[in-house]
Symmetry: C3
Subunit: 143 residues, 3 copies
């Protein structure tokens, strides 16, 4: 019994250690991972979302953070050809940031890929992508 308790408490210690490590270092090669939702029609908030991208890269270091910006609903405009944020989205893409347009929204708004900024990514459902990222342990920021 004593032996079993020792083993269990060792296992317990391992568990605690794992949880503590998890709290500080999310899985994925020690990188921080953050998904940003853009869903409002306000260009001021689109600009802010691109500020977030910049700030996160400054904060963690460009190679130490995975960022995904997901545009959906009223936020889809941030990724349209006429977006006020075109040049900054291009910079983010060059820097390796994931930039994802929601195809459900595009169908609702009758948008095609020709209407969108070049080189961006597409996800079948923006909400599904955000939920999946949360499940994978990414931090979530509502933009």
């Amino acid at each position: 019994m004593k032996r079993r308790m020792a083993l269990l408490s060792a296992a317990g210690a391992a568990l605690v250690a794992t949880e503590a490590a998890h709290a500080q270092t999310p899985p994925g090669a020690g990188k921080e991972r953050v998904v940003i939702q853009v869903s409002t029609p306000d260009p001021k908030m689109w600009n802010q979302a691109l500020n977030y991208v910049e700030n996160l890269r400054d904060l963690y270091g460009a190679n130490k953070v995975d960022i995904e910006l997901v545009a959906l609903g009223h936020g889809i405009g941030v990724l349209k050809l006429d977006s006020t944020q075109g040049p900054r989205v291009a910079d983010a893409l060059k820097a390796g940031v994931h930039v994802s347009a929601c195809e459900v929204t595009m169908r609702r708004q009758k948008l095609t890929r020709e209407d969108m900024l070049p080189s961006i990514g597409y996800v079948p459902a923006g909400l599904g992508q955000i939920i999946q990222r949360q499940r994978e342990g990414w931090a979530y920021i509502s933009g």
Copy 2:
């Protein structure tokens, strides 16, 4: 010692397996679970929240996702009798979506159940409900 390490590493494997399962299949009969916060005064955003409900049901399948829409603060209007979203809220309720009005907000705004859409649910505190859902492992979407 070798024996203990073997046991620990087996326990570790079990832990990793549990965490991996958790990442992909949240608890609750393999269903996805999503709580949506509606707290802005903008009817465009209320409409969007109802789009979210529809999209989630399309995405996961109606019987494979539990959805709760929590209206609080400036978002309470989405559940008032004169809401622009009345018919869509009724559809959501028929489909088994949880639709919850915050009673703290109702007291602040001197609203009674007679002021609200029929058949909706009530929670003592909208924030408490959203926090509880996060604790239970539901994904969180700010509407």
Copy 3:
């Protein structure tokens, strides 16, 4: 083998117990912990964020909840000297609520501590603070 399985299943039980406890009682002396993001320019939403603080204290009891309000981006105004919420922020501070202004935002907007409400706290990066809180198990509310 049988012995190993017994040990493993005991370890498994301990793990399940730990996870269940985690779901209901977040770490930190049994206290609930909630981080609130304020990032919109709308004073109505600032007022709402202060309502949230009040509601959370009523809901859990003043000594049973740790609350941090993080103001960043377009939400920084809630903590400026001319904020509509000055007196309520002072009350929150007196009550032990953490109130944090984002120094990245302050630099972007050329604000100094003299421009801000007295006695508030400062964090090097508001986003980093919110992400860190999520990692530590705090519930997240987008204001």
